[in-house]
């Protein structure tokens, strides 16, 4: 009962902030552009927001389980997306076949990275670990450039061309399809953590490694699992946004920035917060881009909102306020 009440308060806070932000921005761009436009921006915002949310989710999964900020998350996703591109264009795999295979490849890649690169620096100072992930960022970016070259490639979508009408607004079929798929992926991740024995053990290992070990949980295996899952989610996000952004080695750099912002906004230790944060930022970004007044500075407005939100609530919209008992 305590849990649902706290959750209700948190949800209400988030919705209130979301509503307030949207209202302010909506008023700002009143300039006669009307309801349809606002709805249009809202929907596009949700579509791209889902991608930000997915990458943010990957960041939070890794941070929560290993206390590491994985700066290479976006580049790993780009690399995997290129792999799927090769599978589709050179090996002639159907889209969904390549999608699942690549997610598996991503998971294996994530697991290997954790075991070989991250685990050895587990007990090193934070700065060392940051540099390691920045190194991975460089390695993946250069590697992707080297293998596939830097010319942008067009990436297929399995959802067909054209738009779908939602009330008076239109959304590209590919955007809608991507949105649905990424939501399914995120739902599966949620179910894994909340309903399965392994998910429970993984949460335990993140919250209290000592107690988890004393219950027979292999904490190191859970860390590896966290990286594997995060890499798979990142790969899925990359493959679902590639059609929209066109595929090149730097595709995810912008996305990663917003994903970070989303993760911080939602509270770095909260996966649901990361997803919600993603939507908030996606919506803000789109509404601002559509506004005559603010359209030159979408990034600025998004980050300004984040700074204000964190000033009011430093642990993030849904983050746990850490109260240390003295």
């Amino acid at each position: 009962m305590v849990r649902t009440r706290a959750l209700a308060i948190q949800t209400a806070t988030v919705l209130a902030v979301l509503g307030a932000v949207y209202l302010v921005l909506f008023i700002l761009k009143l300039a006669g552009q009307g309801q349809t436009f606002a709805l249009q921006q809202l929907i596009s915002g949700i579509a791209i927001g889902a991608i930000y949310g997915a990458v943010a989710l990957a960041l939070v999964l890794i941070y929560r389980s290993t206390d590491v900020i994985n700066f290479a998350q976006g580049e790993m996703a780009t690399f995997c997306t290129f792999v799927s591109w090769s599978l589709i264009t050179q090996n002639h795999l159907p889209f969904w076949g390549a999608f699942f295979v690549t997610m598996v490849i991503g998971a294996i890649l994530g697991a290997l990275l954790q075991k070989v690169v991250i685990a050895p620096v587990e007990n090193a100072p934070v700065l060392t670990v940051i540099i390691v992930t920045l190194g991975l960022f460089e390695a993946f970016n250069s590697g992707t450039n080297f293998i596939w070259q830097s010319q942008p490639k067009s990436y297929p979508t399995p959802f067909g061309a054209g738009n779908v009408k939602i009330f008076s607004a239109a959304i590209a079929k590919s955007d809608l399809g991507s949105l649905v798929v990424i939501l399914i992926v995120m739902l599966l991740v949620y179910l894994f953590f909340s309903r399965t024995r392994l998910g429970l053990a993984s949460r335990a290992a993140a919250q209290n490694p000592l107690a988890a070990r004393l219950c027979g949980v292999s904490v190191s295996a859970m860390l590896t699992l966290g990286w594997a899952l995060a890499a798979a989610v990142g790969a899925a996000a990359g493959m679902l946004v590639a059609n929209k952004l066109t595929l090149d080695p730097n595709m995810m750099i912008g996305v990663l920035l917003y994903a970070f912002a989303a993760a911080v906004l939602g509270g770095l230790d909260n996966p649901v917060g990361a997803v919600v944060g993603g939507f908030v930022i996606g919506i803000i970004q789109n509404v601002v881009v559509g506004s005559d007044l603010l359209k030159g500075i979408p990034d600025f407005v998004a980050f300004l909102v984040i700074v204000i939100a964190l000033a009011i609530r430093p642990s993030g919209l849904l983050g746990r306020q850490v109260v240390k008992k003295v």
């Binding site: 849990r3 000592l210 070990r213 004393l214 027979g216």
Partner: protein, 235 residues
């Protein structure tokens, strides 16, 4: 069941346990007493595989535990209730109990054990969907013990179960420990600062001082021992 021989454990240059030898027989309740810093927690950590000893042998039912991982030792049936409870405060009571049974796959057995835990500790059943961090100190201690029992251990290690608890609650907890030990046929090794509570249920006891065993005897002898009474029992 458990035989510790000449154990030495150190944290870097600091030697926490020096040549410690302890024996726990099948079905017994053995206590290790000592003040803060005597090495009691280090002893349990060494046995449970959380810390690797520098020297010595830990023999549990024919298995050599020194050098084994903590996860492996749990699977051998030796489970610790750590100092300060260490429950998963952000999870529900039920999730905590399920984690206790992590090493088991028999869902029917787990369900039956859950019922048995509820019968030992009715408050846990009432609060089974409550977040564990909201429980009182005594309730958290019961949860920690129940969680350990969910693994169906043959031996239980308890690290300062009285820590931070009111005297009346402590008495309750210790009577529970004794009852459970008899009913579940679990051997118990407990370390404690609260000597009188520990000696009230133990069969045999050791006294640890700065990493060495200084006294070892049957509990009722130690209760009469002049030195123990002065230093640890307060009269």
């Amino acid at each position: 069941m458990l035989r510790v021989n000449n154990l030495r454990t150190q944290y870097g240059p600091i030697v926490a346990l020096r040549d410690v030898s302890i024996e726990v027989g099948d079905g017994q309740i053995v206590a290790v007493l000592g003040a803060n810093g005597a090495g009691k927690t280090t002893l349990l950590r060494s046995i449970s595989g959380v810390v690797r000893p520098a020297a010595g042998v830990i023999d549990y039912d024919g298995h050599h535990l020194q050098g084994l991982s903590a996860e492996k030792i749990v699977r051998l049936g030796l489970v610790q209730v750590p100092e300060g409870r260490q429950i998963f405060t952000q999870m529900t009571v039920l999730e905590n109990l399920r984690l206790g049974a992590y090493t088991r796959r028999d869902s029917a057995g787990i369900a039956a054990d859950l019922e048995r835990m509820y019968s030992y500790f009715p408050v846990l059943e009432r609060r089974r969907n409550q977040i564990a961090g909201t429980l009182s100190g005594g309730e958290q201690q019961m949860l920690a013990i129940a969680r350990a029992l969910m693994a169906r251990p043959r031996m239980l290690l308890l690290d300062e179960p009285s820590l931070g608890l009111a005297p009346l609650i402590v008495r309750d907890i210790f009577q529970n420990i004794r009852a459970i030990s008899e009913q579940e046929k679990v051997t118990v090794l407990l370390v404690e600062q609260d000597a009188s509570a520990a000696l009230s249920i133990a069969d045999y006891a050791y006294v640890l001082e700065t990493g060495r065993v200084v006294l070892a005897d049957r509990a009722q002898e130690l209760r009469q021992n002049e030195a123990v009474r002065r230093s640890y029992l307060g009269y």
